[in-house]
């Protein structure tokens, strides 16, 4: 090992990636000469633009780190980035990446509306595809139970399940009148239905007094808040997670919905954490940060290093999409290197897929794994909001951590049946 490489490894030493890569730092010259081409499809504009941007930064960070440590099984990584828009156009970009750019793997996708359609196409094309935040679920029903080439993120309902469990843990017996304001598509509908199912499971006596379903992208929520206020709820459950969430907070604060001890649970608040300013986001709300809580005091050195670099570079704090993107890259890397080790030669696509099944990795937010049925398991963070921090937005005062095996249905099981029968711990 030359002194330059030793210095580099010393500088970034201690990270899980380097530890994972160290057995492979010496590879045959032929492999090292041609870079691995990885296609990324992520939103750059619209309501998910900011999320896609954060995910892309997570990918770029992972690639820079991996390339500095020798790449994947000795081959440097080269990214080709395409934009995620509607399902039809995004699928065309998948075809372009696979057929024209001849990428080795495609990663990305934030919208389940896109991933649901793209999953089947990728299977047909036999294209290795790892979703950041997409599923192949129609609602909560798995449409590709026997996926071969597609690897999905954790189920969308994980955060709603966790927020519901925290509602039971912190507030059981302290509320009766419940109002919901959730985005008007399957994510919002399923989340609110999951919340109600869990209240029933844990014997929480409650009454739904208002349901609001603003369409995604609504920028005037005055009438929605007026309707919620008229229902006089004790608890508001909301899966809003795009730019409409800070607007909802501000409008609710202005209209007095937050007065009088009303409780709030926001499973997807982490996407907007820096926009939820303290003056209109009180303490004591349940906020979900999904698989990356940037300010975790007990975060791994790997996460702390990433958050620090992210803050220095972008003057911002990352949300969970950065972790999802990092996780996707880490799973692929682990799969390739495991397959390479087993074969002692560059592995084929089928070898890599076999190795990715069941692989365990350390992601930015914590440990995770890819199940045999190609659904991810990851670590989730939620808690009660506090203003006691150095930021102008709330963070988590007490942090609950749950692994997704407690939050999502096992392979092949119906989601609603799982909620009824699972031994879910509070």
């Amino acid at each position: 090992m030359d002194s330059k490489r030793r210095k580099l490894l010393h500088a970034i030493g201690g990270t899980g990636v380097v530890a994972a890569a160290s057995p492979y730092l010496s590879f045959p010259a032929f492999a090292q000469n041609t870079p691995l081409r990885i296609g990324i499809i992520a939103p750059k504009a619209g309501i998910a633009g900011t999320i896609g941007e954060c995910g892309l930064r997570g990918t770029q960070y992972a690639v820079a780190e991996m390339n500095a440590a020798g790449g994947i099984a000795g081959r440097k990584i080269e990214l080709i980035v395409e934009e995620e828009t509607n399902p039809k156009d995004s699928i065309e970009r998948l075809r372009k990446l696979v057929l024209q750019d001849k990428v080795d793997c495609v990663q990305g996708i934030v919208s389940s509306g896109v991933s649901l359609a793209m999953g089947a196409v990728a299977e047909e094309m036999k294209a290795l595809l790892v979703f950041w935040d997409g599923t192949t679920q129609d609602g909560v029903k798995e449409t590709l139970p026997n996926k071969r080439y597609v690897f999905c993120s954790t189920d969308n309902e994980c955060e709603a399940v966790m927020a519901s469990l925290l509602v039971v843990k912190h507030w059981k017996g302290k509320f009766k009148r419940v109002a919901g304001i959730n985005p008007d598509y399957s994510y919002g509908r399923n989340n609110f239905a999951a919340f109600q199912a869990l209240m029933k499971k844990f014997g929480v006596e409650h009454e739904i007094v208002a349901e609001q379903w603003p369409k995604v992208g609504t920028t005037d929520l005055t009438s929605h808040v007026a309707a919620l206020k008229a229902a006089k709820p004790d608890l508001v459950f909301s899966s809003l997670l795009f730019a409409d969430l800070p607007i909802f907070m501000r409008t609710s604060h202005g209209a007095g919905l937050m007065d009088g001890g009303t409780k709030f649970a926001f499973p997807g608040a982490g996407f907007q954490h820096t926009a939820l300013k303290k003056p209109f986001t009180p303490e004591g709300m349940i906020l979900g940060h999904n698989t990356l809580y940037f300010d975790h005091p007990n975060a791994s050195p790997m996460q702390k290093k990433f958050v620090k670099e992210y803050e220095d570079k972008y003057k911002d704090y990352p949300n969970w999409e950065a972790d999802r993107a990092y996780f996707a890259m880490a799973v692929y890397k682990a799969g390739v290197e495991a397959a390479y080790k087993a074969k002692n030669a560059w592995p084929g696509k089928e070898d890599i897929i076999n190795a990715m099944e069941g692989v365990k990795v350390m992601s930015l937010g914590g440990p995770g794994e890819m199940r045999k049925d190609h659904i991810a398991e990851q670590t989730f963070y939620q808690g009660l909001s506090t203003h006691k921090n150095r930021y102008d937005f709330p963070t988590l005062g007490n942090i609950d951590t749950m692994y997704s095996t407690q939050l999502q249905k096992p392979a092949g099981m119906d989601f609603w049946e799982w909620i009824k029968t699972a031994n879910i711990k509070l």
């Binding site: 939103p43 750059k44 504009a45 619209g46 309501i47 633009g49 900011t50 896609g52 941007e53 349901e211 609001q212 379903w213 369409k215 992208g217 609504t218 920028t219 005037d220 005055t222 009438s223 929605h224 808040v225 007026a226 309707a227 206020k229 008229a230 795009f242 730019a243 409409d244 800070p246 607007i247 501000r250 409008t251 604060h253 202005g254 209209a255 007095g256 007065d259 926009a275 300013k277 003056p279 209109f280």
Partner: protein, 293 residues
């Protein structure tokens, strides 16, 4: 009763926002006979530029309580892009409506990239400035004072435009030009200059509207298209080219939406478009529109 006034004020506030966008659309169509799809883009530009202006002004030492003046000034200043855009539109004045729609839609897409280039894909907000002037409270009813200011500003703008068009000499010439462009031109009216003025005024309505509303909302790349869809419902109900129509149409849409959200949230959009369909059947030109010959 509190709930009723909460819902009513929510509807009127949304109507005020819609009016600001629809008014620009109506003014430009009324005189220039161009359906300007880009009016939503001016609104979005005003919102983004307003955020930047307020942040810059406050960091330069302007007291936060003066943010409303900064927003108004930024909206007026940004309206200066109107003449440049109007110059571009001159190429399609005498062409088929399809060309006009295509060009103004192209402007929507181009402005979206301009917004993305300067402000990025992340939706922008103005923190908690909307609460800078506090709340008005009557019993359980609480309304941010700023929302009331937006409603009052819309009413003032509506009456201001009405007075300008009805009671000033320039307004009368404008209406005459809208009625018969060739005759006005023959009588010595500088129609080209008039079009520039009208288009700039329409642009200013959009940019000032966007700037004024952004403290209560967020500036995002989607807002031009989102708002134009509702603004067109306003125009169809009120009548294309009519300022009174814009005002009444905005009120109908705003109140229908608020009522639907409160009592039957699922039919929020359906309720608005049921009114649109009813108007198209009963009075195809809209409530205040002139029948199309």
């Amino acid at each position: 009763m509190t709930a009723f006034f909460d819902i009513l004020l929510g509807g009127v506030f949304h109507a005020a926002v819609l009016f600001l966008v629809a008014a620009g659309l109506q003014l430009v169509f009324g005189v220039q006979k161009i359906v300007n799809l880009a009016c939503g883009s001016f609104y979005a530009l005003g919102a983004y530029f307003g955020i930047t202006s307020v942040n810059w002004a406050v960091s330069a030492g302007v007291p936060p309580s003066l943010f409303l003046l900064v927003l108004l000034a930024s909206g007026l200043l940004l309206g200066l892009i109107g003449p440049a855009i109007e110059l571009l539109l001159r190429t399609v004045y005498d062409r088929d409506e399809a060309f006009q729609l295509l060009l103004t839609f192209a402007l929507v897409l181009m402005f979206q990239d301009v917004l993305r280039y300067f402000w990025g894909a992340t939706p922008q907000t103005l923190g908690n400035y909307a609460m800078e002037y506090g709340k008005l409270s009557v019993g359980d009813l609480q309304v941010p004072t700023y929302n009331i200011l937006v409603i009052l500003a819309s009413i003032l703008i509506a009456f201001g435009i009405g007075a300008f068009l009805q009671r000033t000499r320039y307004g009368r010439i404008l209406r005459a030009t809208a009625e018969n462009r060739e005759m006005s031109q023959a009588l010595g009216v500088n129609v080209r200059w008039m079009y520039t003025t009208v288009f700039t005024l329409g642009t200013v309505l959009g940019t000032v509207g966007g700037a004024m509303v952004v403290p209560t909302a967020a500036a995002s790349l989607d807002m031009p298209v989102e708002l134009v869809v509702e603004a067109f419902a306003v125009v169809v109900i009120g009548g294309l080219g009519s300022m009174r129509g814009a005002l009444i149409g905005a009120l109908i849409v705003g109140l229908m939406r608020a009522a639907a959200i409160s009592w039957w949230a699922e039919i929020e959009m359906l309720a608005i478009y049921l009114v649109v369909i009813a108007v198209l059947i009963v009075r195809p030109a809209g409530i205040f529109g002139k029948p199309i010959e």
